[in-house]
Amino acid sequence: MTDADIIVVGAGPAGSCAAIAAARSGKRVVLIERGPFPGSKNMYGGVIYPRILDELIPQWFETAPIQRWVIRRSTMVLSDTGALNIDYRSNAWGQAPYNGATAYRPDFDNWLAQQAVAAGADLICSTTVTGLLRDDQGRVCGVSTDRPDGDLTASVVIACDGVNSFLAKQAGLYPNANADNYTLGVKETLSLSKHIIDERFGVRDNQGVDIEILGGTSGVNGGGFIYTNLDTIAVGVVLKLSKLSAQKKRPEDIIAELKRHPAIAPLVEGGEVVEYSAHLIPEAGLEMMPKMVADGLLIAGDAAALCLAAGIWLEGVNFAMASGMYAGQSASAAIDASNVSAASLKSYTNRLNETFVLQDHKKLRKIPHLVLSDRVQHRYPAFVTGVVERMFRVDNPTPKPGVRRIVREERKKAGIKLSELVRDALTGLKGFG
């Protein structure tokens, strides 16, 4: 008899949802986390889209530790001195069923893991999984940990161990783990009074704002973000690893420069840094995804590169929660069918293919690399802000130039070929359209 039916490695959003789903179907589940509590190692930008929880935790919004409900989403394009802001506000997002919410991960992940415990899973913290156990036929049959007497056996192991997933790598499922496919996120949590945040961002009560920023990262391919919590704001940048060292710019200096941009400074002014944090993002989507199934083993969440990083619009927590849930369900079904071979566990990838998890990824396949491409990063911001600047500028008595002429002139000034522009526009349309 095995020590457990299912071992879930990592109590992030993927792992906790896997544990909830498996425990609900009556399995003996052990959820192992290396941090002293779930969420202690986890950092992100700041917005969760938790609708997928409707299925696992009805009325989740009544107990989840939410900071603010996002009712405004903005995308800013920054040139050296200008900013183009696309802003959408929906007060409907401030009420059930809600859209997005800001939350601290040490709060949210801990809460989610407690839901797994309530569903019957055993949560073991402060325990690092160091490897996979295999039976004599090479099938995964458990994990080893860094505790004395630390081996634990199970029918299925679900690896939800995040972006560095040493388990997926150890299982040989990760051919494309190189620096080109990752971005580094660094972030400052700034304390500001609730009153000031409400005023600066035009919200009240527990309404929140999410701002993604293109440009403003000191020439390092990437993007920035600002999110509002109750009495702090998160300011950070996401930087392409392979470009970071080439540009000889340090991450904290890039944040400092972003904070100094004339369009950003008024938003962050006076905020005292109360926490600094850093984490990697698997950025390349389908281009880097590992095989997610092996005999006795499933991979979910960031460990499977399921984070949807459409450039700078990061959705990872919802993809992690969904993939974790499907992994938990498939593992349980496979155990019920007394067959935990890769073929039997394949129902997991089928599920991912049928749902938004892989469909969104397929749709946006080319977007991550497009948004982080040199053109979009270095030339388009100057181009679009240039166009808009001239459209809005009043140069009396000179008559207004036609939009077409402005676009042509600004495009040339920014050094963009028409053919490139058309191609990128098509990729963008195919992705987002």
Binding site: S126, Y182, L241, L244, S245, K259, V273, E275, S277
Partner: protein
């Protein structure tokens, strides 16, 4: 100019909680670094833990590490960095991120 409290790098790092274990979870092989001209780690490590020494080596401290994984991904030298997670329960502990 805008005003916000300037923060030294040490003050920045001090905003994070590190539960330090006596075992170094990451080690750097100084010999490999001596021949390295690109020094990706020095720029990229968000905790600024890779410090070039005057004699051409690299001084590395593991204590204030965010366990992000950047260094082993950007370093192109096979075997320069040995990277593991700290013992369970130790290392970085985030509060409000």
């Amino acid at each position: 100019m805008t005003i916000w409290p300037d923060i030294s790098f040490q003050d920045r790092i001090d905003t994070s909680e590190f539960r330090i274990h006596e075992r170094a979870h990451i080690t750097v092989n100084d010999d490999s670094c001596r021949g390295c001209t690109t020094r990706e780690c020095v720029v990229a490590c968000p905790a600024n833990l890779f410090v070039p020494t005057s004699d051409g080596g690299i001084l590395f401290n593991y204590e204030n590490c965010y366990e992000c994984g950047t260094c082993y991904l950007v370093c192109n030298k096979e075997g320069a960095i040995t990277w593991t997670y700290p013992e369970g329960g130790f290392g970085i502990v985030f509060h409000r991120t």
